[in-house]
């Protein structure tokens, strides 16, 4: 029986820039930051209230699994904003929207009421996008 998610990936184009975005703008905590040779590192972060979930800020660089052609295609798709990386929750979407905007985060959708609840959409520094929703959207009483 699977019990929980522990590690998941976010493919990023530049790890230094991703560190700044996820740590200094989103307020995530660094879990691991281990050099793995020139130009790359094992970099994982966690949402502030979820220390047991690590997001790997995974660099899209040429490696055993990623030949140059894949790196080029993946980089292009990330920059185009093709990849949604999930839902991040907060107490209040409107306030979080204001805070992240003040920090320079680019929103592709301002907070708006949808049939499933209030939602905003923003991009990370690479081009991946996230849905931002109030935690109340996921309360049992809302049927999700």
């Amino acid at each position: 029986m699977i019990t929980k998610m522990t590690v998941t990936n976010i493919h990023v184009i530049d790890q230094d820039s991703a560190y700044d975005f996820y740590v200094n703008k989103l307020g995530f905590r660094v879990v691991d930051d281990i050099p793995m040779g020139p130009g790359t590192r094992w970099l994982t972060v966690s949402p502030p209230d979820q220390p047991d979930l690590q997001l790997v800020l995974f660099p899209v660089t040429v490696s055993k699994m990623f030949p140059q052609k894949i790196v080029d295609t993946l980089t292009d798709l990330i920059k185009q904003g093709v990849f949604g990386c999930g839902v991040l929750t907060c107490h209040d979407v409107f306030a979080t929207y204001e805070e992240l905007k003040a920090k320079g985060v680019e929103f592709i959708k301002a907070p708006a009421k949808e049939f499933y609840g209030t939602e905003a959409l923003f991009k990370d520094d690479s081009g991946n996008y996230f849905s931002l929703q109030p935690i109340s959207n996921f309360d049992d009483e809302n049927g999700i």
């Binding site: 793995m36 055993k64 107490h91 209040d92 409107f94 306030a95």
Partner: protein, 151 residues
């Protein structure tokens, strides 16, 4: 409707957000939370209530947790306990140690020691701290024998 509600609230939100960002930037200094509330609102209690509804903590509670979170970062970087205490805005070593222990579950010295030991182990064998599947995917194993362990 939601746009109207949002525009009605946006002014209040921006004030609370600015207060929170002020705390984020100035946690290492002595912060007068009552003063922040006074500048932002007529009612201190209204400010606290709104702050808590947005961030899930009162400003005072938020500031305490922010300081301890930053202390963890500094201790992990091997700053001394005294340096860390004052760097994150505490004026008393004992109050810092007590609060740190309450929130983190271990004393600052125990936390620091554990982190330095972990850092030493990581520097000696970094691959042991990366899931093997990732290290393999990136070719981080110097002498990987994964290919030889097929079915």
């Amino acid at each position: 409707m939601i746009a109207t509600a949002y525009h009605q609230k946006v002014y209040l939100y921006r004030r609370v957000v600015q207060a929170k960002l002020f705390i984020d930037s100035n946690y290492s200094e002595k912060i007068d939370l009552d003063g922040i509330a006074g500048e932002a609102y007529f009612s201190k209690f209204h400010f606290i209530r709104l702050f808590k509804s947005i961030y899930g903590k009162t400003p005072h509670h938020y500031l305490k947790h922010l300081r301890i979170a930053q202390a963890k970062v500094l201790l992990a970087q091997n700053l001394s306990i005294t340096e860390t205490c004052f760097a994150v805005g505490f004026e008393s070593l004992s109050s810092f140690s007590t609060l740190f222990t309450t929130i983190v579950g271990q004393s600052p010295s125990a936390y620091s020691k554990r982190h330095q030991q972990t850092k030493q182990r990581i520097s000696k064998n970094p691959h042991a701290y990366v899931p093997g599947c990732y290290a393999y995917q990136h070719g981080w194993f110097e002498n990987s024998n994964f290919e030889e362990v097929g079915d």
